[in-house]
């Protein structure tokens, strides 16, 4: 015979339909998101890996200060056993000061081949093909005219090149920049016709055979060292060397895609876990309400397993359904949307969807196991209580039910309220954890855009000079506002840090008025201090980028300046520490320097510095909005479910109070006010707790995963906002529930004992 207890499930479901629907939706959504991410990511990762061979991706590239002749490249090929491909580019200014990095299409026949998305490759010298994503961001269509430097060209098509699957202008940038930076292709003639002023002598290379990651790393170190030495010996200079493994333009997208998946899965597991907890709590309070019946069934000989099974069926079925519906949603709607988000960030080649059995199993089996596990844990403990205790309704406290003495001096209502709180302790503890969880999600969802805004503002405010130009040779500059310093780059942690040798500070300097230098020591700027926790007096070691040497410095002071990570030292120390040819001059000025363009290595402007936050806002904007919306709803929901449990749990007593003649207002004050107060207290403590938890995690995770530094900032309005949202959610529940309580026929509530 089938267990007749199952017959109640239909009615149970009907009776509590809103709760089940709400839980179902909030399980199905994260499951759909996770499944969508898994399917989309897996497809993208496979596409990405296939693209490495399909498009003949370089194993790395290097740049020289002056161009090599044919003999020079051949010598390198022979000495280092490499295939070297000249892949020069010219950086031109497009509309609104955008940077257009133009390559010669004919250089890309054997290496870093092109994926055409729309239109045609440039054929005549007045045609240009631009990156697909840049075009999308700037609403550029095939056939539009496009200004490059002083020339006006026709856009022949949109493309992506795999060596820029992510548009990093410089590998040292914090963020890529698909807003104001694009890769472009022109025909051989078209390329030749551009001014040679800003040409970069870039050489891509491939190892003749495939190497393991470890082997490749060894080779790279060796080649870099050799090239560096041999070029200096010839009066040239190695100005960049980048193995593909270190190339953010290639790696960032895939790391990000993989990292997002991890985040998403953790997020999903947390949400499903939270909901499983809500299930368990509401079943637990149901068991408490039915204590008499359960006790009788146990006395009649029902086994714990049989009772448990019927309680678990609905949560399990809800989860299973959510899993199936979530997966259907994932394949039909979300995958496209999520992949679309990536295509809105990255210049990836066209992709194909691979169907993914692992995702299906993962997103249905894991949630069910989670729900079963948490419920089993919580409910088994309740059900193991002996039948007699059930019959006595004595479930909450198992041993030695102690009743605290409350002074009789206290007004009755206060004592009563304290009793209510004592009685619901367990639920309030759950409420506390629940609000904590909800707060983390909500705060994370809400904090990002003010954080980026503030970062942008800080960078703008602390810009040292409107123009910062790195020169290829130490030539005199004629500009009253110009101040020359010397620059080299060293590595620390994940970052390539600019090290500046500065001569003039204080009143002598227009740009370094607040910079304090001490002989034999260095000054770090604030982002370094924040990111790596370096304080005055502390020593740290930086690595030489190409040769692997190390430098040990002691911090004397922190320079309050935001933006990219920088280390300053007195010029004399600087010259002593670094040899001739290991550094370049850098000029700070109010206007664009009037020097021969061929001598300019690179120019840094405000747009470059704020590019990170602009890009994050643009490419993550949709994600943040999704996240915020989701977190607000989830937050309200969790508060709703938890407060509902508290109020329902007391429904019987409330009915009893009404029968005794208490007025509804008095009952509200006795029962719902304490709950409201507990909600507010939990919220208050948790917003503060969350703030510190997020900051702590930020300080641990950002230095490990991100180049550069963003301050972990909580806009002050977040706190009252979260409190208000919490209060609103509670008031909504309170309204619904108190009306429900008012409508319950008193006799029936009591009879159901």
């Amino acid at each position: 015979m089938k267990n007749p207890l199952y017959k109640r499930l239909g009615r149970e479901l009907w009776h509590d339909l809103p709760r089940y629907i709400v839980i179902f939706l909030f399980m199905a959504l994260p499951i759909a998101l996770c499944a969508g991410y898994m399917i989309g990511n897996d497809s993208m990762i496979r596409t990405y890996n296939e693209a490495i061979e399909k498009y003949n991706l370089e194993d790395g590239h290097f740049q020289t200060l002056f161009s090599l002749d044919e003999e020079g490249t051949e010598q390198i090929e022979k000495e280092e056993n490499l295939d070297v491909f000249p892949l020069f580019y010219k950086e031109e200014t497009g509309k609104d000061g955008h940077t257009v990095r133009v390559y010669d299409l004919s250089d890309r026949e054997e290496i870093n081949q092109v994926c055409l998305h729309k239109g045609d490759l440039p054929a005549s010298s007045d045609e240009i093909a631009l990156d697909r994503l840049y075009c999308e961001n700037n609403e550029i269509e095939v056939g539009d005219s496009f200004r490059v430097g002083s020339r006006t060209l026709r856009v022949s098509g949109t493309i992506s090149v795999f060596d820029y699957s992510c548009l990093f202008k410089r590998n040292t940038d914090t963020m890529f920049n698909a807003q104001s930076f694009t890769v472009a292709l022109m025909s051989k003639e078209g390329y030749a016709a551009l001014s040679t002023e800003n040409e970069v002598f870039n050489y891509a290379f491939r190892f003749p055979e495939r190497l393991t990651e470890e082997k490749a790393h060894e080779r790279n170190l060796e080649i870099r060292k050799n090239l560096y030495a041999s070029l200096i010996a010839k009066g040239n200079m190695l100005s960049d060397y980048l193995a593909v493994e270190d190339n953010q333009a290639v790696q960032f997208s895939i790391i990000d895609i993989e990292g997002d998946l991890t985040m998403m899965l953790i997020f999903g597991i947390l949400i499903v876990g939270g909901l499983a907890f809500v299930f368990a709590l509401s079943i637990k309070s149901q068991i408490e309400n039915e204590a008499g019946s359960i006790g009788t069934l146990k006395a009649l000989g029902y086994k714990n397993g049989e009772l448990l099974a019927h309680y678990l069926l609905l949560p399990t079925a809800t989860t299973l359904l959510a899993g199936v519906v979530g997966n259907i949603l994932a394949y039909t709607v979300l995958k496209e949307y999520l992949v679309g988000l990536y295509y809105h960030s990255y210049s990836l080649p066209t992709y194909t969807t691979f169907y993914n059995a692992k995702a299906l199993i993962f997103t249905t089996v894991i949630p069910i196991l989670l729900v079963l596990g948490i419920n089993l844990f919580i409910l088994l403990r309740s059900l193991r209580i002996p039948a007699l205790e059930f019959l006595r309704g004595n479930l909450r406290v198992r041993r030695g039910r102690k009743v605290k003495k409350l002074g009789t001096g206290m007004p009755f209502m206060t004592r009563f309220r304290l009793r209510v709180i004592g009685q619901n302790k367990g639920t309030y503890v759950a409420l506390f954890f629940g609000t904590f969880f909800a707060c983390v999600i909500l705060m994370f969802g809400l904090m990002m855009s003010p954080l980026l805004e503030r970062y942008k503002q800080q960078v703008t405010d602390s810009l040292l000079a409107p123009y910062q130009t790195v020169l290829k040779a130490d030539v005199p500059v004629e500009d009253r506002t110009a101040e020359k310093v010397y620059m080299t780059q060293l590595q620390y942690g994940l970052d390539d840090i600019m090290v500046l040798g500065v001569e003039k500070t204080g009143a002598d300097s227009r740009y370094f008025g607040n910079l304090k230098l001490s002989d034999g020591k260095v000054t770090v700027n604030r982002p370094i201090k924040e990111k790596y926790g370096l304080k005055a007096g502390e020593a740290f070691e930086m690595k030489e980028k190409y040769e692997g040497g190390t430098y040990r410095f002691t911090v004397s002071d922190v320079f309050v300046n935001d933006g990219s990570l920088m280390v300053f030292m007195p010029l004399d120390d600087f010259r002593e520490t670094f040899g001739e040819g290991e550094y370049l001059p850098m000029v700070f000025s109010q206007q664009k320097l009037s020097v021969d363009g061929a001598l300019v290595y690179k120019t840094v402007t405000l747009a470059d510095l704020t590019a990170a936050s602009d890009q994050l806002t643009s490419s993550m904007g949709d994600v943040f909005r999704l996240f915020t919306l989701f977190s607000v709803i989830l937050f309200a929901l969790l508060i709703y479910l938890l407060a509902k449990i508290v109020i329902e749990r007391n429904a019987r007593q409330i009915a009893m109070m009404k029968i005794l003649g208490y007025k509804v207002r008095e009952i509200n004050r006795a029962y719902n006010l304490p709950t409201g107060i507990m909600v507010m207290i939990s919220l208050g403590i948790n917003t503060v707790l969350c703030r510190y938890l997020i900051e702590l995690l930020w300080r641990i995770i950002v230095p490990m995963r991100m180049r550069g530094w963003l301050d972990c900032y909580f806009a002050p309005y977040l706190f009252p906002l979260i409190a208000a949202l919490g209060l609103l959610s509670y008031l909504a529940v309170y309204g619904i529930e108190s009306r429900k309580i008012a409508r319950i026929p008193l006799s029936r509530t009591l009879k159901e004992g």
Partner: protein, 232 residues
């Protein structure tokens, strides 16, 4: 002998609050017999019944039912013992609120390999008309009849009733007692019923009087009355 109860002891609390709920209770009982445990409030009736029913453990003594020794059973074994042999009725009805009358009784039938015929039992209980109602739509008497139905449908060897009419008026009480009598006669069920009501005790085959956790008297009821004849 069907049931043998030997030297049952039970204390609650310790120190100042120590209560000797039962201090050495022994009696025997035949199959098909109806025994009433009679005594004032606090005399230990419920405690004794719960020990016999295996939902409370005694501090000393033994309970033997058929071939089963209830004392010394593990929690699991006691569950099986109750499942196979016992029916339970309490003063409060403890029905499952969102199951109908019929389904509430089915929860009892589920536990038995050879349950009684449900429709016939509903007829005996006088609940045929009400079988599709849920507990909150029933009167107290109807709810208690449902709860008796749930206990007897499994055709238990022993039916334990703790003040089954405690919450009911005299007329309804009479109906419930008649029902218990009918079940006993029709199905040959042994019954132990707890009450503090002398009149109800008159329907028993045997009356055991308890006071302060001891047996005052254990006598065959010479002038046994039919449940319908009790002057409630």
């Amino acid at each position: 002998m069907f049931i043998e109860i030997e030297g049952i002891k039970k204390d609650f609390g310790s120190g100042d609050s120590l209560t000797h709920a039962l201090s050495g209770v022994s009696f025997k009982m035949e199959k098909g017999e109806m025994v009433v445990l009679l005594g004032p409030s606090g005399s230990g009736k419920s405690t004794l019944l719960n020990i016999i029913g295996g939902i409370e453990a005694a501090d000393g003594g033994s309970v033997t039912i058929g071939r089963d020794q209830v004392h010394g059973m593990t929690e699991k074994e006691r569950t099986l013992y109750r499942r196979n042999h016992l029916g339970y009725v309490f003063q409060s009805y403890n029905l499952i609120p969102n199951l109908t009358v019929r389904e509430n009784i089915e929860t009892g039938a589920y536990l038995s390999k050879s349950p009684l015929d449900l429709d016939e039992l509903l007829e005996v209980l006088g609940l045929t008309r009400h079988q599709t109602k849920i507990p909150s739509q029933l009167s107290g008497g109807q709810q208690q009849r449902t709860s008796i139905g749930r206990a007897v449908i499994k055709n238990p060897d022993l039916l334990l009733c703790d003040e089954p009419t405690g919450a009911l008026d005299s007329e309804t009480s009479g109906q419930i007692l008649e029902l218990i009598e009918k079940v006993k006669e029709k199905y040959g069920t042994s019954v132990i019923m707890v009450t503090h009501n002398e009149i109800i005790a008159q329907m028993a085959d045997r009356i055991i009087r308890l006071k302060d956790g001891r047996i005052l008297s254990d006598e065959k009821n010479e002038n046994k009355k039919k449940a319908g004849e009790l002057a409630l």
